[in-house]
């Protein structure tokens, strides 16, 4: 295996850009959340720090940084620190396989806008997502607090339960695409209309999309599935004992997750960086500009989905825990299975 310095530099650059971008978007996602909440509750929201409160996330971050770091006396210190670190790590790891844009073909070579095009990209996402529960669980357990423990156990069981339905819903989609590589999946959704039908998977797997979306809500611990941190039952949830930047990591990881999963949803179901008439656009602009347009398209889609998440959060009431479990095991999994069978039948006898 030969190490290519230029290759490494290129990848490192890409990684840092993506990381910083994700962090920035996550930051403003907190702002957006508050704004959306304000709009929906017919109030103003943050409006002091900067124009329309645009500096509010920075202020929050600074506040968290400068707050006193408290590690509970009876906690398991190492794991207590490891928890938020893992949460953050798994949150950002997913971004590695997302194709942010088409390859930029220049005279010097091809620059890929994807950190790693591995042929099992979706499985990688799954692996990382399934690891995501460790952060929550370890943190909750290490806090040595009953409420933390309970909520972390809730989070873990919720995550495991919904992972199943999520996987099954994706299996149906993978049967359509025939590939596990995200880049290939995106390229199959090239454009918007291939002459016969929509190219985007959303139109091919609507049921799968809804199941996936529901599961994404649960995985992200967002309302109406925010049982792990439901204040009325468990005080503050698994990060009750956390303070300062460790708490910030947890909260931040959630918003990064929100962003990344929105990106993944956009990639899987809404064509990723593809947009209608992209061929015409590609022909008329330079490759770099075209790549930028593509990235922006993807980001737009992701932001739309984030907003959708937020609307839902402030619209629907929270489930009860048994309802949550019943929904996962008795509704979504059978539904996903049925979807899978139907898809298989269609592929076998209709499409050929």
């Amino acid at each position: 295996m030969q190490l290519d310095i230029a290759f490494i530099i290129e990848k490192l650059l890409l990684i840092s850009v993506i990381l910083l971008g994700s962090l920035g978007i996550a930051m403003y996602a907190t702002w957006a959340e508050r704004k959306v909440a304000a709009v929906m509750q017919d109030r103003r929201g943050p409006n002091r720090a900067g124009f329309m409160g645009l500096f509010q996330p920075l202020a929050d971050g600074l506040k968290l940084f400068f707050k006193e770091e408290i590690i509970p006396d009876r906690s398991t210190r190492f794991l207590f620190i490891l928890g938020p670190a893992l949460a953050m790590l798994t949150a950002v790891m997913t971004s590695a396989v997302v194709p942010w844009g088409p390859d930029i073909v220049t005279e010097n070579g091809v620059i890929s806008l994807q950190v790693a095009d591995i042929n099992i990209g979706i499985l990688f996402i799954f692996g990382v997502v399934s690891l995501g529960v460790y952060g929550v669980m370890l943190g909750g357990w290490a806090s040595n607090n009953k409420f933390s423990l309970l909520s972390s156990i809730r989070a873990a069981s919720q995550a495991i339960s919904y992972e199943l339905a999520m996987g099954l819903s994706l299996v149906a989609m993978l049967m359509m695409t025939g590939s596990l590589s995200l880049r290939e999946i995106v390229e199959q959704q090239h454009g918007f209309w291939d002459g016969n039908y929509f190219t985007w998977n959303f139109f091919k797997q609507p049921l799968g999309f809804f199941i996936f979306l529901t599961c994404a809500f649960a995985e992200l611990n967002r309302a109406p599935f925010d049982l792990p941190e439901c204040e009325s039952e468990l005080n503050m949830g698994y990060h009750q004992e956390y303070s300062s930047m460790k708490l910030g990591f947890y909260l931040f990881a959630e918003y990064i997750n929100l962003f990344i999963s929105s990106t993944v949803i956009a990639t899987l179901f809404f064509g990723g960086y593809n947009f209608p008439f992209m061929d015409q656009v590609a022909a008329s602009v330079s490759p770099v500009l075209f790549a930028i347009i593509c990235v922006l398209t993807l980001l737009t889609k992701a932001i739309c989905i984030i907003l959708f998440f937020m609307f839902i959060r402030w619209t629907l009431p929270r489930f009860r825990y048994d309802q949550l479990m019943r929904l996962g095991w008795r509704s979504l999994i059978p539904l996903a299975l049925v979807n899978m069978v139907i898809t298989g039948a269609v592929i076998l006898w209709v499409i050929k």
């Binding site: 591995i118 799954f126 692996g127 495991i160 992972e163």
Partner: protein, 169 residues
């Protein structure tokens, strides 16, 4: 020593030390974490051996599901280091010595075997396409049987774990 060797030795050391951590750490949670790390190291080896699919499946199944269950159970029981009574020294030494003896014996037995070097060129047998073909043609019957096994294990687990109602007791 190329990158391949460096990664190999790194993963090997990591696997062995984490495996030792599993059995030596007194806190069950630490054991679980060490085991997860071991699985990661093993997955890394899989990737080195061109078995990417297995590597990721290993992570999903073991790290993502099985170990979560372990952690889950441990947390449910709130097991700490002090909850496990220590075996007496003699038993531990006996265990270690016998295990080591087995290791030594087999190592000595295999020491003289002919050395086959694995080539580092990547093969595509680990690709999901090839695996799928093998699984659904040659091994389709074991596959179906394993699904039955899964089902029965699931039912068994549910039945065992069910809370006994007053009627049954």
């Amino acid at each position: 020593m190329g990158v391949y060797e460096i990664i190999f030795w790194f993963l090997t050391v990591m696997a062995l030390s984490c495996a030792l951590g599993v059995i030596l750490s007194r806190n069950p949670v630490n054991s679980v974490l060490f085991l997860i790390a071991t699985f990661f190291a093993i997955s890394g080896h899989y990737i080195l051996l061109n078995a990417q699919f297995l590597a990721i499946v290993n992570i999903i199944v073991y790290a993502g599901a099985i170990m979560v269950l372990f952690l889950f159970v441990i947390m449910l029981m709130n097991l700490n280091a002090d909850t496990e009574p220590q075996k007496n020294r003699l038993v531990q030494i006996a265990g270690a010595v016998s295990g080591g003896t087995l290791l030594l014996v087999i190592l000595a037995a295999l020491r003289t075997s002919t050395i086959t070097t694995l080539d580092q060129t990547s093969t595509d047998i680990g690709l999901i396409k090839n695996l799928g073909k093998t699984l659904f043609t040659q091994f389709v019957l074991p596959f179906e049987i394993s699904s039955v096994l899964f089902l029965s294990a699931m039912i068994g687990a549910v039945v065992i774990g069910r809370k006994e109602t007053e009627k049954e007791a």
